[in-house]
Amino acid sequence: MDHNSMSKSLKLIIEALLFASDRPLNVREIHACLPDETGSKITQALNELQTEYDGLKRSFVLREVAQGFQLRTRSEYAPYVLRMLKTSPTRLSRAALETLAIIAYKQPILRQEIERLRGVDVGGILRTLLEKDLVRIMGRKNLPGRPLIYGTTKKFLAVFDLKDLGSLPKLKEIREFGSDEEETVPISEHDLRNDTSKEENATGEKTQTTLLPKTD
């Protein structure tokens, strides 16, 4: 009885770990979170969970894949899941976000000016931003080669919940926020302040912006 409830709670702990993990977990990794349990008990609990989900006929199963165990939806639900994921917010990479920010603040702007500010080629990013309808071509500049002039779109305003471009916080206002010593996460505003520097910060690609689709 006691043993039973023990192993039940072990099973549930493992379930919680699998639930919250974004990748498969192997027995060793689970064991690291539960040092008081033995590896064989963990394996047993995993097997029991597997049987349990099959028995419960839920929409997900516990699959053993190369790298460990992972909760996955059953393949028969894939069409629905795919439909959901397709309407999911699209992500913008940090690089795209920075480019977008430069355009938003400096528009009307030429590509070469954006590239001067970012220090890298922005062709691909510009295309993505154009495709996502966040950026538009405003016209051409009377310069050799007639370069394109970029600016932001109406959708840009909608996506970032801005009434108009005037509602964009000014750089001065962002600077006035000062810094919070306690917990500071480096973020785009900061990069905006030091336009040209920060290029060597290549760790950046982790931060992503989620663009939530309009919900009306």
Binding site: A20, S21, S75, A78, L85, G123, G124, L130, I137
Partner: protein, 245 residues
């Protein structure tokens, strides 16, 4: 000295005042203003002793407290029904502050995401479970350029990529590509080069395509990584002349 030398850091004057009120166990609706003012000033002194920069907000409150204290000392003034208790000036903001302190406390006791509870995270695994209609693969600029290089190599082996005086303008080629897309709906990437004879012409055509892609007028798709790249129009006017079906 009566002070225990344990300097607490307060968020601001209201935080300090509230601390003194709690420490003295006095009623916020009947603050013993003289005592509290003395302790408040004592604390500021202590901060100075420790070389802590006393923020202006603390000093403003100090003068407010002294002002209230002097008002309270005027005989009879605070018993006069017609005049407001001078302590109201600090009581109101203190009450409001307490209210939000309490709410902050209530907030922190909630089941906070990524502290107490956890949601599912993005999982890309669904892809291998799905068969059939794989969505088109978006090609990046590099792949596009790479494909262009392949065509150049195939059609003009050993040709040197030297730029000659321009015979074709990007604008011409842009119009050509658009015309073809309007006519056929979708074309293969290599088709747009079918009539090109020189490397410079290739380049101009290619630049025209890039321009169109930049402007969002053409979408470039590649169904599989080895498959032929296809171009589809994405202009507003949809083809035009009555294609019934």
């Amino acid at each position: 000295m009566d002070y225990e030398v344990k300097l607490e850091i307060f968020e601001g004057p209201l935080d300090l005042l509230l601390h003194l009120i709690n420490k003295n166990e006095v009623d916020i609706f009947d603050i013993p203003i003289a005592t509290i003012t003395d302790q408040y000033l004592g604390y500021l002194e202590l901060m100075k002793t420790f070389n802590i920069n006393v923020a202006g907000d603390f000093l403003v409150m100090a003068s407010t407290l002294i002002h209230i204290k002097s008002k309270m000392l005027l005989p009879g003034s605070h018993e006069d029904d017609e005049e407001e208790d001078p302590r109201t000036e600090i009581m109101r903001p203190l009450l409001e502050y307490m209210q939000f302190k309490e709410m902050a406390e209530a907030f922190s006791e909630r089941e906070i995401l990524d502290r107490d509870v956890f949601a599912r995270t993005v999982i890309p695994y669904f892809q291998d479970g799905v068969t059939g209609e794989e969505p088109e693969l978006d090609v990046n600029l590099f792949q596009l350029i790479d494909a262009f290089k392949r065509i150049v190599d195939q059609r003009l082996p050993g040709a040197k990529l030297t730029v000659q005086p321009e015979q074709w303008s990007v604008k011409d080629k842009t119009e050509l590509i658009i015309a073809r897309l309007k006519e056929k709906g979708a074309i293969f990437f290599r088709e747009i080069f079918s009539e090109d004879r020189t490397v410079s012409e290739f380049i101009v055509t290619f630049l025209a395509l890039l321009e169109l892609v930049h402007m969002g007028l053409v979408k470039v798709l590649q169904p599989t990584s080895e498959g032929d790249i296809r171009l589809i129009p994405s202009f507003d006017e949809k083809g035009g002349n009555g294609n019934g079906s």
